[in-house]
């Protein structure tokens, strides 16, 4: 039996059941009490996301202020279980208008029951594709007032049939203006040693698409990745154009991408689902352009004083700029007084996270900015423990920049009616876990 979930529970942080569905009778109704007493009320909660109690295993995740717990009684497939939860939450979010939390659940009981019945039957995952579910779901989500404006209503009781071959797209869609939005979103992970050596550095990227296209269009995407380019030059029997080529460590694709064709021709071709989806994900470890350099110097002057000097350099193109730059510089718990100067942005001491938080709204490329601070500490008698310096962490977004250097070379849309399409391409690089030890 691969995965047959016996029940799924949604609990709030106190452990009250918000809503649940029992798919099978092989677990008692009070299993959730076992979860509460043995996991939620003990220190176990943060220790491990899979736990066994009695004959049952609990596979659980916390998403905002809700615990989602899957109970299984057999030797289930855990990766599948977690993936199911993640997908289900994404689905709920699409109905609730972006937010998934306790309130959203309480406002949508009937809808959630409906969805839970459709996405899983007798413990086996069924179809989680929002497009298809629109055909079966009668309820509309109650959206939170803060969420984005509702998109087009789910089609009530559509008589449209789903074609077997393209399970993710309905036929007969029609838009006045045919548009494709493509976003390349990269997050850079960095771990730098106190001596300035890069210990670990990689980029995880996503290609997100939003399609408003009529009919059954065939799309083809070309990137400047090495394998794709080589294959192309080989096929056209002319040397590859000079310029940067990117070596992708690994790529995964949305189920709409024809993988056979990718493997033989190295082109990404697909019939897209309607609306928003994640086309592909990739990972790169070689040749990453770090957007920021951080040079910290921290001096502990005796027991009660510290000097902190952090210089941040932007090393991307001068015409570009980073937004929402936040540098979190850790300081000891017993910090009493801080005194600092910054060349740009604003800094603040935040005692709840023991950090100096330095924010720079707009950081142009090829510039640098410094923070110098003097910190006075409460002298603690007999406190032998030296301060274990946590790393400096950084957040930022750099639009129009990719740390990997990946670029879209072409995006072709082909549909039998031959309409014109407008394509929009954007790039953005965000900080993943950007840590500099000091």
């Amino acid at each position: 039996m691969p995965v047959a979930a016996s029940a799924i529970y949604f609990l709030n942080l106190r452990g009250d059941v918000l809503i649940n569905r029992t798919y099978r009778d092989d677990v008692g109704g009070n299993m959730v009490d076992a979860f509460r007493t043995h996991i939620m009320q003990t220190k176990e909660l943060g220790n491990c996301p899979v736990r066994q109690i009695g004959g049952c295993s609990f596979v659980y995740m916390r998403i905002s202020n809700v615990y989602i717990v899957i109970v299984v009684s057999s030797n289930a497939n855990v990766a599948c279980g977690f993936k199911f939860v993640v997908e289900a939450v994404a689905l709920f979010k699409s109905y609730f208008g972006g937010a998934f939390d306790e309130d959203a659940i309480k406002n949508n009981f009937v809808l959630i029951y409906e969805l839970l019945d459709e996405i899983m039957d007798f413990g086996y995952p069924q179809n989680l594709s929002p497009e298809i579910l629109k055909l079966y779901i009668t309820q509309e989500g109650v959206r939170s007032p803060f969420s984005s404006k509702p998109k087009d209503k789910p089609v009530p009781n559509a008589t449209l049939q789903v074609t077997g071959a393209v399970g993710w797209r309905r036929e007969g869609l029609s838009y006045k203006k045919n548009e494709v939005f493509l976003d390349i979103v990269e997050s850079v992970n960095l771990l730098m040693s106190s001596k300035g050596n890069v210990l670990r550095c990689d980029v995880t990227g996503k290609v997100l698409m939003k399609c408003f296209l009529s009919g059954m269009p065939d799309l083809k995407l070309g990137l400047n990745d090495k394998i794709g380019l080589e294959k192309e030059s080989e096929m056209k029997s002319r040397p590859a154009k000079s310029g940067k080529t990117i070596e992708l460590d690994d790529v995964t694709f949305h189920q709409c991408v024809n993988l056979t064709r990718f493997n033989s021709e190295k082109t990404v071709s697909f019939v897209p689902p309607d609306g928003e989806f994640e086309l592909m994900k990739y990972r790169i470890t070689e040749g990453v352009n770090l957007p920021f350099r951080v040079l910290p110097t921290i001096k502990e002057l005796g027991r009660t004083r510290m000097e902190v000097n952090v210089k941040v350099k932007s090393v991307f193109g001068a015409k570009m700029f980073a937004l929402g730059v936040v540098v979190k510089i850790p300081v000891p718990k017993q910090t009493a007084k801080t005194n600092f100067q910054v060349t740009s942005g604003r800094a603040k001491y935040n005692p709840s996270i023991d950090c100096l938080v330095w924010k720079i709204r707009k950081f142009p490329g090829q510039t640098e900015s410094t923070l110098s601070a003097e910190i006075e500490l409460i002298s603690t008698m007999g406190e032998k423990k030296s301060w274990t310096r946590p790393p400096i962490q950084m957040e930022f977004q750099v639009p129009m920049f990719t740390a990997s250097g990946l670029r879209v070379r072409f995006l072709k849309v082909w549909e039998k009616s031959g309409y014109n399409t407008v394509e929009w391409v954007r790039y953005i690089t965000k900080a993943g876990s950007y840590e500099i030890r000091c």
């Binding site: 995965v3 009668t138 071959a165 399970g167 990718f262």
Partner: protein
């Protein structure tokens, strides 16, 4: 399919009790039920929503069942769905009422709209009321033949539900055969997938009592069926793909071409966005190539990068699941991630369960080329704020050292940890240094000089303390103050709660004694005395064993306790390779997470304390520390009921130091040192020690607790006064004043234990032997008595006895205090004889 009944919930006090609301709803529903006014459906929808919300937050709305059913006579699909939901929830609890619903559900199963047909069929199958089974067969049969795939999908799962309610009905209707033909011929992928999961389940359960099922189950794994699925795999959704891949794992390929065909077919699945599909594909690849070593290695290369992607994308929980699998792989093929070690560096904000697995990964992939970097990184974590992770990383450094890479540098690093002066770092490091020394004795010089500088006062954890004590004993000759540190520790014997530490103290004292006898002699004496008086069985036994083996022959004792050791080359692996293989066979399941094969956690007998899942909610949380409570403390707890408890405890502590030997008339320093020399010579000389040296044995250690029969003078006949009298106050005073002259354990015969159900009977019995009881108490299995007796000839010579009988082990612990200590052995014999006759006719 239904949430548990309302009574199982814990509605918070702020929630309405719901009684008046429910009555209100009831009347409103009744009004609307017959109405045909326009817009009535909208108001019905609102009411239905309310009912379902109440149901969800735990208010019992089963009383509106009738009204709900009446209202459901509608063509509005939204209303119908909500009504099905309601019915599904309460049908199981109200089988009679659910009969009402059968009618309209059956009618809906024939509706024009395929959605209504499907929903009605699902609800019908989900009622799970056994006596309604007969109504299921018809609709299911037509559902399976429905021309709409949605209805067929639901009908297929419906068959599985029916099987679980009533297997015979399902088999008799020949549903499995219908499913099989659907599986092989239906055009809709989801119908096929559901057929597959239903058939797998039904046939696996049928196998035990039907040969046909066995055949059918095997036919699922035949080449045509497998290829039928694999060739179409792209048509299935991601979840169904997992199902098919799981099936393909069990397929036994006919030859190597077969293997390559399958691998080529599935190659592109490794690029799927769904991690579960990727992992399932990895499993197929690994299992298929098990017999082909070369290809198997190539598979490792191929799956490496998709797996690393899965680790770094997705939620921490998903990473956790994947990392567990990587760990399993890396144990089998350590080289695969050796050059990708940087992927397993911890991020500051990651949850500790991910960090922990990453540390394990780093440990497992360390080899000659990357050890330096990995250990440098691990040392960073030793200063981590999260103490558990800091500990794990120190352990990881130690494990890498034991793997024999770059030991030199690692030992330096470990010794630096000791200088960090953090209790937990020191504690972990000590344990590691101990293991390192067992493997690499050549490092002892460097380590010992640093370890010697650690103050034992700063170490509280039993494991670390034991490690330090072990080193003190083992390297006593290199650590100048070893005997004195040990002596210090031994003097605090009573405060040492961990039996493990006390055991190590005994052994270390022995080892130290062999190396530096004059300095250790006193400490060893105290340790042996305390050990023999110890309540912990193991400690007591070990002390007694040491005592006797020393008494027999010091040289032999040295050979037994402190033989020359060979360096440990490989530490025992905790898990057998057979178990590891089984876990590997169950790749991509919970087994990998729990690191044990599935039979260990799915079979009832292996499950351990939580036997019955239904009662599991009521099981109290067992305190983890329970193992540390030594029986001594339990005895002390019992003492509280007793008259004499407080005084007696103080005496216990005194005895180990003040207890004087009744056969040691001359006890001066000069005498001891000469004997000591004699002992030292006999210990180091090759000749066996003479019996004489053992004769003076007790004196050397200042022990008076002889139980050796050879030394016991034949007891003089002791006559006790049958009418002895002692008032409790005097007893108490005497008990406080006198030292324990004798401690002894003896067994009680089974009849005696049986008779002990009435403790008074023992008191009467002892009285007949002129031993009188002054106080008694305790509960089964531990009973405690205080007795006294007087010598017939001298009324002033009293014997006071504490006797603790454990009825489950049938043992009695006796402590004797006497005015005239030389005769206490004789009294003990009388007492023991009397006790042994207890219960005899």
């Amino acid at each position: 399919m239904a949430p548990p009944a309302a009574s199982q919930r814990y509605p918070s006090p702020s929630q309405p009790s719901g009684k008046s609301e429910v009555t209100d709803l009831k009347s409103q529903l009744r009004q609307l039920a017959g109405s045909r006014a326009p817009g009535v459906d909208d108001s019905k929808r609102d009411l239905f929503k309310k009912v379902i919300s109440y149901m969800t937050i735990g208010i019992d709305v089963s009383s509106v069942f009738g009204e709900m059913v009446m209202c459901s006579a509608t063509s509005d699909i939204v209303l119908k769905k909500m009504c099905y939901l309601y019915v599904g929830n309460y049908a199981k609890g109200n089988p009679d009422l659910s009969l009402l619903t059968i009618n309209f559900l059956q009618r809906d199963c024939k509706d024009q709209d395929p959605m209504i047909r499907g929903l009605a069929l699902r609800s019908l199958c989900s009622l799970r009321v056994p006596n309604l089974v007969e109504y299921l067969v018809g609709p299911l049969g037509s559902g399976l033949k429905d021309n709409n795939s949605y209805v067929r999908t639901i009908a297929v799962t419906g068959v599985l539900k029916l099987y679980h309610i009533s297997a015979s009905t399902c088999i008799d209707a020949d549903f499995p055969a219908t499913l099989k033909s659907l599986m092989l011929h239906d055009s809709d992928a989801q119908v096929v997938a559901n057929c597959l999961s239903a058939l797998q389940e039904i046939w696996s359960l049928e196998v035990s009592h039907s040969e046909e099922a066995c055949r059918e189950k095997e036919s699922l794994l035949s080449k045509p069926v497998i290829y039928y699925f694999l060739n179409r795999i792209k048509e299935f959704n991601e979840w169904a793909q997992c199902l098919i891949l799981e099936l393909a794992v069990k397929y036994v390929p006919s030859d190597s071409n077969d293997i390559f065909d399958i691998m080529n077919l599935l190659e592109d699945r490794l690029q799927h966005a769904n991690g579960a599909v990727v992992l399932a594909t990895v499993k197929v690849f690994l299992q298929l190539t098990l017999s082909m070593t070369d290809v198997h290695q190539q598979v490792y290369e191929r799956i490496k990068s998709p797996l690393l992607t899965l680790v770094s994308s997705g939620s921490p929980e998903q990473s956790y699941a994947i990392l567990s699998h990587l760990h399993l792989l890396v144990v089998r093929a350590p080289f695969i991630f050796a050059s990708d070690y940087k992927h397993f560096y911890c991020q500051y904000n990651e949850p500790s369960y991910v960090k922990k697995l990453k540390l394990e990964m780093l440990t497992a992939i360390a080899n000659e080329s990357n050890t330096y970097e990995i250990v440098t990184e691990l040392c960073e974590y030793a200063a981590n704020v999260d103490i558990a992770i800091a500990r794990e990383s120190i352990r990881a450094v130690g494990k890498i050292a034991l793997q024999q890479y770059d030991v030199n540098a690692i030992v330096d690093r470990l010794l630096q940890f000791l200088e960090m002066e953090k209790d937990y770092v020191t504690a972990e490091t000590l344990v590691l240094v101990k293991d390192l020394l067992r493997k690499y004795p050549q490092w002892s010089h460097d380590c010992i000089s640093v370890v010697g500088g650690i103050s034992s006062k700063n170490i509280q954890e039993p494991k670390a303390k034991s490690a330090l004590i072990w080193m003190l004993g083992e390297y006593a000759q290199d650590m100048s103050d070893a005997p004195y540190v040990l002596e210090n520790l031994i003097e605090n014997w009573e405060e040492e709660h961990s039996a493990e530490v006390r055991l190590h103290l005994l052994t270390a004292a022995m080892k130290c004694f062999f190396k530096r006898p004059p300095e250790t002699q006193r400490a060893l004496g105290i340790a042996l005395a305390a050990g023999m008086a110890d309540f912990h069985q193991d400690v007591h036994d070990r002390a007694l064993f040491y005592y006797r083996v020393l008494q027999y022959d010091v040289h032999v004792a040295e050979r037994v306790v402190s033989p020359s050791k060979q360096a440990v080359s490989v530490f025992a692996d905790t898990q057998s390779s057979e178990i590891k293989d089984r876990i590997f066979d169950e790749f991509n399941s919970l087994s990998v997470i729990y690191q044990k094969p599935s039979y260990m956690f799915t079979d009832k007998e292996h499950r351990g304390p939580f036997e019955f899942s239904d009662e599991v909610g009521n099981i109290p949380i067992t305190p983890e520390a329970s193992g540390d409570i030594v029986p001594a403390q339990q005895f002390e707890a019992n003492d509280k009921d007793l008259l004499l408890s407080t005084d007696e405890k103080d005496d216990n502590k005194g005895v180990s130091i003040t207890g004087s030997a009744y056969t040691a008339p001359s006890y001066d320093n000069s005498n001891i040192s000469s004997q000591m020399q004699e002992l030292a010579i006999s210990g180091s000389a090759t000749s066996a020690a003479t019996p004489q040296s053992s004769f003076d044995f007790d004196d050397i250690f200042g022990l008076g607790l002889s139980t050796a029969p050879a030394r016991t003078p034949s007891p003089p006949l002791l006559k006790l006064n049958p009418r002895a009298a002692l008032d409790p106050g005097a007893f108490q005073q005497k008990w406080r004043q006198l030292p324990i002259s004798l401690t002894q354990e003896c067994s009680v015969n089974p009849q005696g234990i049986a008779a002990l159900t009435v403790p008074q009977s023992l008191i009467k019995h002892m009285q007949s032997h002129s031993i009188h009881c002054i106080a008694s108490g305790g509960q089964s299995p531990n009973f405690k008595f205080f007795f006294f007796a007087q010598k017939e000839s001298e009324p002033s010579s009293n014997y006071l006895t504490e006797c603790v009988i454990n009825s489950s082990s049938a043992k009695a612990q006796i402590k004797v205090k006497a005015d005239e200590q030389s005769t206490s052995q004789a009294f003990a014999t009388v007492f023991e004889t009397a006790l042994s006759e207890f219960g005899m006719p």
